[in-house]
């Protein structure tokens, strides 16, 4: 549990932020120049705010009122910066070793080989940072922070310079950190899809202030806050591979319903987690026919939450788990949707992107 | 055999090398000679330098050492004497009659007269004194260029940068590119004396031995070979 209260002023910019990060991945979301990096710097101990308190679990990292200000190296927050900040005189391998060297010997840590493989930097180990591409640098920086066995990971737009595929490879690792290793992560991002994908908690920063904070599902269903991100809200369905058809589709079983997704490279019987974006879901009261869409799930509406704008978020329970659908309020009205109503959810198979399929069992039943 | 250290004015470099070798050969003592400007040596002695014998290029600095009480009583002698000469650039410069009647300024034309520092370095001080007593100073003052030591002044004349210069006879002797065109009368300046003395310290026979050797015939010959006149009996 990270508790943060900071205020600091630059000429022309005032930060006044207070939030808690309960664990998992807390995403600091906000526009360019809103103050995200300033918060990260203050957390890392690189900027002493004019006033503030920072507490991580039972350790006070900063309390300007009480004159406490732990130096960066005693905070043990693994920082991944917007600019990679690799050490130019060290090889990639030495850069990776740097953090690990200072990590307490008994700290739980990832194995170097695993991190190297996951980040795809095995062939770069002997190079120096100047011989790396932008994305390669950032991957090394991520590895360096992970290997320092930090108590909390501070990631300032770590994936901004990575391609979608690489992102898709690394995102699950952050998910794993969130779900398995239980290192809390403060993740700065301006990418709505990363937010939707990763966030346990979302803190929205605007002009140096926190304008919204809360559990991801709540914040994501508020279009006023995340104008560009609303399309990305979604739910996770648990499924199991049924078979690989020869026309390039894979059939999966989501709690009794057969769904079709683009072929994935998982053995038959393997469990899957699929994120289905709320805005990719169309609801209908009668089973439709003659539609190009192949995936249909039967479910019951659990909750209808109208946003502040034209939108509403409908949660329904299906055999595969809880599903979110984003509709217009007008549609909610015209279809007369309300808790308890049985509906069909139509999901286009192709909208289940490979990046949204994570191997492993769902937590949700 | 003992070890002794001699602080000697740098202008004695060649002579001291000669004397050192001969003395070591005859006595078996080991002599270390440190050569520098008299002022530096005197100050070092005053600040406790491990010197046993001091040979200064002028009396003032020996006086200074004596005043501080570092000279062993009864050991100071005026060892050498030097002459002040006027030199000219080149091998065939005509001789100059040095006296109150000479027109040094005209001789120089728009050239320079090279000397050592006229208010600081002995050769310069004596030179200025001589020019003053011969009534030449005010006429040539503006043409004088002063070096930090005599050798540099000599070098200026040798290089032709200055047509004339005032240096010690001992310096002028061996420089091939200059001609001695005249010697300043002995009475035109204070005598140019190189005093030597033993310095206070443990009573050591070798110190006396070396002081004696300096006055002896072998040393005299060595000094004279370098153009010095010897004084001590």
């Amino acid at each position: 549990m990270l508790e943060v209260a900071l205020s600091h002023t630059f000429a022309g910019f005032a930060l006044d932020a207070e939030f808690t990060a309960p664990g998992g991945i807390t995403v600091l979301f906000g526009r360019s120049g809103s103050g995200k990096s300033t918060i990260v710097n203050a957390l890392a101990g690189l900027l002493t705010p004019q006033a503030g308190r920072i507490r991580l679990d039972d350790r006070v990292l900063l309390d300007t009122a009480r004159g406490i200000d732990l130096p960066p190296h005693r905070r043990r927050l693994g920082a991944i910066f917007q600019d990679s900040r690799l050490f130019p005189h060290l090889t990639v391998s030495q850069n990776l070793a740097y953090g690990a060297f200072f990590a307490p010997k008994d700290a739980a840590r990832e194995s170097r080989d695993k991190v190297v493989e996951m980040l795809g930097i095995g062939h770069l180990l002997k190079r120096r940072p100047s011989a790396l591409s932008g994305g390669e640098k950032q991957r090394v920086a991520i590895g360096r922070a992970l290997l320092a066995a930090p108590r909390l990971i501070l990631a300032d737009e770590p994936l901004a310079s990575l391609d979608e595929e690489r992102k898709a490879e690394i995102l699950p690792y952050f998910e794993r950190l969130r779900d398995e290793v239980s290192v809390p992560i403060l993740y700065v991002s301006h990418s709505a899809s990363e937010v939707a994908r990763l966030a346990t908690t979302i803190v929205v920063v605007k002009d140096g202030r926190i304008v919204r904070k809360g559990r991801a599902e709540e914040v994501l269903s508020d279009p006023a806050v995340l104008p560009a991100g609303v399309r990305e809200a979604g739910a996770i369905l648990g499924a199991r591979v049924l078979r690989h058809a020869e026309d390039g589709l894979t059939e999966v079983d989501a709690g009794g319903t057969v769904l079709f997704i683009e072929r994935i490279d998982r053995p038959v019987g393997a469990p899957l987690r699929m994120r289905i974006h709320a805005s990719d879901v169309i609801l209908t009261r009668e089973a439709p026919s003659g539609l190009s869409s192949l995936n249909m799930l039967h479910g019951t509406i659990e909750e209808v939450r109208a946003g502040e704008g034209a939108d509403a978020m409908v949660a329904l329970s299906t055999g595969g788990g809880r599903l979110l659908a984003r509709l217009t309020r007008r549609s909610v009205a015209s279809l007369d949707l309300a808790p308890g109503v049985a509906v069909y959810a139509i999901v286009k198979s192709v909208s289940v992107a490979p990046g949204d399929i994570a191997p492993g069992a769902t937590e949700e039943p | 055999a003992e070890e002794i250290t001699v602080f000697a004015a740098a202008s004695l470099t060649n002579a001291m090398a000669d004397i050192e070798a001969r003395y070591e050969a005859t006595t078996g003592d080991a002599v270390t000679v440190s050569l520098a400007g008299s002022s530096a040596l005197a100050r070092q002695i005053i600040e406790g330098a491990p010197a046993d014998i001091f040979i200064s290029a002028n009396s003032e600095w020996m006086d200074e050492v004596e005043r501080v009480g570092l000279v062993e009583e009864g050991t100071r002698v005026d060892l050498l004497r030097n002459e002040l000469v006027l030199i000219a650039h080149g091998l065939r410069a005509p001789a100059v009659e040095i006296g109150p009647d000479m027109d040094l300024a005209a001789l120089l034309g728009d050239g320079k007269l090279a000397m050592a520092l006229t208010n600081a370095v002995p050769a310069g001080i004596y030179g200025k004194e001589a020019l003053e007593s011969l009534g030449q100073w005010s006429a040539v003052e503006d043409k004088v260029v002063q070096s930090d030591n005599v050798r540099t002044a000599l070098r200026l004349v040798a290089a032709g940068e200055a047509p004339y210069g005032i240096v010690y006879a001992s310096d002028a002797r061996a420089e091939p590119d200059v001609t001695v065109v005249g010697t300043f009368p002995e009475d035109s300046h204070q005598p140019i004396i190189y005093p030597a003395a033993g310095l206070k310290g443990e009573d050591r026979p070798a110190v006396d031995r070396f002081l004696e050797f300096l006055k002896g015939p072998e040393a005299k010959a060595a000094f004279e070979r370098q153009g010095f006149q010897t004084l001590a009996e």
Binding site: P72, H73, R85, F87, P88, A131 | S34, A40, A49
Partner: protein, 231 residues
């Protein structure tokens, strides 16, 4: 070849090397510390320290030598107590090294300081967030990144030490085998008729040694640069 210079001259060459080597090496830690303090710390007396460091440049070497004599001489303010501890500079080669070190100090400090000021503090911050304490950050990041300046400072100080004359002869005299370095030997040659050619031989030896040192430092510098800037 050994005939080309007399034994006394070879002795002066060996001594100059020894003096320059130790002068440079021994002043390096102090040089790095001073440069670091001037570049990074704000403390009372900083400007004074900065001015002090420049003094050996500003003062005529003779004055520096004289001040050294007054301070570190046998009867000097520091010389006397140090002598009690068995540390003697006066009229020893160590004194020649001290004089050379002090004369080269401003050059060394400036070069190192420039390098420190060119380091991106963000890298050091990154090191700190990875758990490295200040001394470790210094050792593992600051120090390697300031190598170009250390190298430049070292070569400047070494060259200066090879050429230092005024302060040395004023402080520790010109004692063969102990304080008679190449420059004082050259001086002695230049004091007597016909000494120029012998002096020139020593000048050549000195130039050759320094050229080698400069070449070596360039080669090392290129390695450092290629490390930092990439293969």
């Amino acid at each position: 070849m050994t005939d080309w210079l007399g034994p006394e001259e070879w002795q002066a060459v060996a001594l100059s090397l020894k003096v320059s080597f130790w002068a440079t090496l021994a002043s390096l830690p102090a040089g790095i510390l001073t440069a670091f303090a001037l570049a990074r710390w704000r403390f009372p007396g900083r400007e004074l320290l900065n001015g002090l460091v420049h003094l050996p440049l500003v003062l005529p070497p003779v004055v520096t030598g004289y001040l050294l004599l007054l301070t570190f001489g046998r009867n000097g303010a520091l010389g006397a107590p140090l002598a009690e501890l068995g540390i003697v500079f006066a009229f020893r080669w160590t004194g020649a090294a001290l004089a050379a070190a002090i004369m080269g100090f401003p050059l060394m400090v400036r070069a190192i300081r420039l390098s420190i000021e060119a380091i991106d503090v963000k890298l050091e911050q990154a090191g700190a967030t990875l758990g490295a304490s200040r001394p470790f950050v210094f050792l593992t990041l600051t120090l390697p990144l300031m190598l170009p300046g250390i190298l430049a400072g070292t070569i400047l100080a070494f060259a200066k030490a090879m050429g230092e004359f005024g302060a040395t002869i004023t402080f520790v005299s010109n004692i063969p085998g102990e304080t008679r370095t190449i420059p004082t030997a050259i001086y002695a040659f230049l004091q007597v008729p016909g000494g120029e050619s012998a002096a020139m031989k020593l000048v050549l030896v000195s130039v050759a040694i320094s050229m080698l040192a400069v070449l070596l430092s360039e080669a090392i510098g290129r390695r450092i640069a290629s490390r930092i800037e990439g293969v």
